[in-house]
Assembly symmetry: C2
Homo-oligomer: 367 residues x 2
C-alpha cells in the first residue's frame, strides 16, 4: 500500500503510446504497405559496414565533410569549440560532455514506417509455421492473409499482441540473435537497401566528431532497446550500455543449469516524449549538454537538455528532401514534427534542413 | 489489457524486499541503534578524497599493493592477464570487458546498518521542523522520540513511509544536493569517520587495476541509484551512467519554465537478488565477465555473470575481520552470506578473506 501510489500509471502510459502509434500509422500504411509486404523477403548478403570509429585523435581535415558549409554546420562546430576550449568561459569538463541522439528519423530513416515495425511484421510471417493456431486467430489471421492495413487500423487491440508475440517470450540472447539475423538480411521495400545502409552519413560524422572531442554519445529512442543494441555498436560505434530505449519487463531464471534473462510480455518503460528525460535520468543520471532529435517525440528531451546553465545545444533533423530521402513534418503520421518547428526559435534549437545542409544522405552515396 | 499481464508484480517485489530488509534489520538495531542516534550529528569538514583515477597506463609496480600475496591475489591477476593477452586463447576484446561491483559490503562497509538507512533516519530528523504534523503522526512520532528500534521493528508499515518521505517528492537535482550535503558532513557512529572514508582500499585498487586493463567498471547495487551517483564518481571513479541501483518512478515536468525530473513515491525496480541480472540487462545490455559481491543479494548476479562460455570470474568479499572491520556471514541480519558460501566452490567463485587477504581495509590506514 505504501509504495504503490502510482500503480495505475505503470501501464497506462504504455497503452497510450501504443494506441497513439497505431492510430498515427494508418494513413501511411494505406499508401505504402503493399510495397512493404512485397519487399521484405531479403536475400543473404554481407552486412554493410557503415561503422564509425571511436578514435580520439583530432584531424586537421574537415570533421563534417558531408555537411555543406553554412549556419547549421557553423553552429555545431562553434558549440563544440566553445565547450572544449580549455580556459574558456564555456569550457565543460570531459566527464560532463554527454550527447543524446534519437534514433528513428535522426540517425536512420523511418519511412514508410519504423523499421522495427517492419521487423515485427516479418517476424509474424517467419514464426507462423510454428503457430498453426494463428491461421484462425486474430490479428494473425488477417495479417497472414496479407491485409496489413486492417491489422494496423485495429490499433492497440491488434498491434499489442503482435508486438508481444514477436518481441517477448524468449531470452535476451535469443532475441538478439533474431534481430541480428533479420538486420543482416532484410531489405527496405522501396530503397532496396539493407536497413543499416539507411543511416545518415552526416550524423555518423557528427557522432565521431563529438566523440573525438571527448563527448559520450548515447541513443535515447522510442525504439525497443534490445532491437537497437543488436547492431548499434557496429553501425554507430555506440556500445550497448549507451543505448536507451523502450523496455519490456524482464525476469532472471535458471534453465537447465543456464542463467538467463527472459523477456516478459509487459512494458516497463516507454522511452518517448516525456519518457525520454526519465530514461535519461535512470540510465545516464546526468543532464546532457547536447541533444539531437527529429520529431515531437523528442520535444521533451530537447527541452530538458537545453534548459539550464552553461552552454547547451539542441538540433532537429528536418526531413525536407523528398528526392534523396523523404519530406515530411507537421502532417506526417510517422515522425510528426509540429511543436518542434513552432518552438525551435524560442528555445534556440538548430533546424537541420536535410535538403540544404547535407551533401549526401546515406553512406552509399559517398564518392 | 494486452500489456499488463504482470501488473501485480510491479510492486510486489518491492514490498517483499522492503519487508525483508525491515525484518532483517531488527536484530542489529537492538544492539547498535543507540550509538547511531548519538553519532549522526556531523560537523562540517572537508570531503575526504579517496578517489581512484581513470588512467589507462599500465605501471610496472604492483597494481594491488594492499592485497597480500597469495591465492586470492594471484587468481585475480591471472584472470586479468588471461583476458588481456593479445593472441591468447582467452583473449577478450576490450569492448567486452565489463565488470560489475555490488556496493554495500563490497566497496564500502555496511555495518551496523546500510549507510543509506542512516541517511534516511538523519533526514527524518532534519526535515521534522518543516513537518510539525510528524509530532503526532506515526511512524515519525516514535522515531523523533528516539525509539528507532520500535520503528524498524514495524517493518514495511513504518519503514515504507520513512523511505518515501525522505527519498521522493523532490526533483533529482534537489535530492542529489541533499545527499552530497549529508555525505560531506555525516560521520559513522562507531568508526567516527566520514562514510566515504569507509571504502575498501583493496577494492579501490582493484577498480583501478581493471580499468587500466580496459575494463568498464559498473556498480550494481541494491542501494538507491541517485544516492550512490551523488558521490560514486569522486570516490570510486565510476561515472553516474555506470551506476545501477534500486530506482524510484520518475516524472518529467516543467515548473516555472524549468524542465525537471521529479522523484515519485513508487519503486520502479529493486536491484537486489534476481533483480541484479535484470538491472544489468536494462542498463548494460551485455553479460559482464567479472562480478564482485559480498552477500546473498549478489548470488544471482554472480551466477549470471560466471555462467557462460569464455573466461569469467566471480569474487566474494567475506567479512572475516572483527578487529579492523566487522566479522559476519551466515547469521547476519545485514549482508547475510549463506548461499554464496555454500556454492562458491561449485561455481568457482573466489572468496576474499578480508582478515587474511587485505593488508589494510580503509584508505586512512595507508602509511
Amino acid at each position: 500500500m505504501l509504495i504503490n501510489t502510482k500503480k495505475n500509471t505503470c501501464f497506462g502510459n504504455s497503452l497510450f503510446f501504443f494506441v497513439y502509434q497505431a492510430i498515427s500509422l494508418r494513413l501511411c500504411l494505406v499508401i505504402s504497405f503493399g510495397l512493404i509486404i512485397a519487399g521484405c523477403a531479403g536475400n543473404k548478403t554481407e552486412v554493410p559496414v557503415t561503422s564509425t570509429d571511436t578514435t580520439t585523435t583530432k584531424g586537421a581535415t574537415d570533421p563534417l565533410p558531408s555537411w555543406n558549409d553554412g549556419q547549421t554546420k557553423t553552429a555545431i562546430t562553434q558549440f563544440v569549440e566553445r565547450v572544449t576550449k580549455a580556459g574558456g568561459a564555456d569550457f565543460i569538463a570531459e566527464k560532463d560532455r554527454i550527447a543524446t541522439f534519437d534514433n528513428d528519423g535522426t540517425l536512420w530513416s523511418e519511412q514508410p514506417l519504423y523499421f522495427q515495425f517492419i521487423f515485427m511484421l516479418d517476424r509474424v510471417k517467419a514464426m507462423a509455421p510454428q503457430h498453426p493456431e494463428w491461421k484462425t486467430k486474430e490479428p494473425y489471421k488477417t495479417l497472414l492473409k496479407g491485409d496489413v492495413k486492417a491489422v494496423l487500423a485495429g490499433g492497440e487491440k491488434t498491434l499489442g499482441p503482435l508486438l508481444l508475440a514477436t518481441h517477448t517470450g524468449m531470452t535476451e540472447s535469443q532475441f538478439k540473435s533474431t534481430v541480428k539475423d533479420w538486420i543482416s538480411n532484410a531489405t527496405h521495400p522501396t530503397k532496396k537497401k539493407k536497413y543499416t545502409d539507411l543511416v545518415f552519413q552526416p550524423m555518423l560524422e557528427l557522432l565521431t566528431y563529438l566523440r573525438s572531442n571527448g563527448f559520450k554519445t548515447f541513443i535515447v529512442s522510442g525504439g525497443e532497446i534490445s532491437f537497437m543494441r543488436a547492431w548499434a555498436e557496429d553501425v554507430y560505434g555506440i556500445p550497448p550500455y549507451q543505448v536507451i530505449g523502450t523496455e519490456f519487463k524482464l525476469k532472471y531464471d535458471v534453465k537447465n543449469d543456464t542463467a538467463v534473462v527472459e523477456r516478459l510480455p509487459a512494458i516497463n518503460h516507454v522511452d518517448d516524449g516525456p519518457g525520454k528525460p526519465v530514461g535519461i535520468q535512470w540510465n545516464i543520471g546526468m543532464k546532457p549538454i547536447f541533444a539531437a532529435g527529429n520529431s515531437d517525440g523528442d520535444y521533451e528531451m530537447l527541452r530538458y537538455v537545453t534548459n539550464g546553465t552553461g552552454p547547451r545545444m539542441g538540433i532537429i533533423v528536418h526531413h525536407t528532401d523528398s528526392t534523396r530521402e523523404w519530406s515530411y513534418d507537421r502532417k506526417s503520421s510517422i515522425g510528426k514534427l509540429e511543436r518542434g518547428l513552432d518552438d525551435a526559435a524560442k528555445y534556440g534549437w538548430v533546424l537541420i534542413d536535410m535538403q540544404k545542409d547535407w551533401k549526401i544522405i546515406y553512406p552509399f552515396e559517398k564518392k
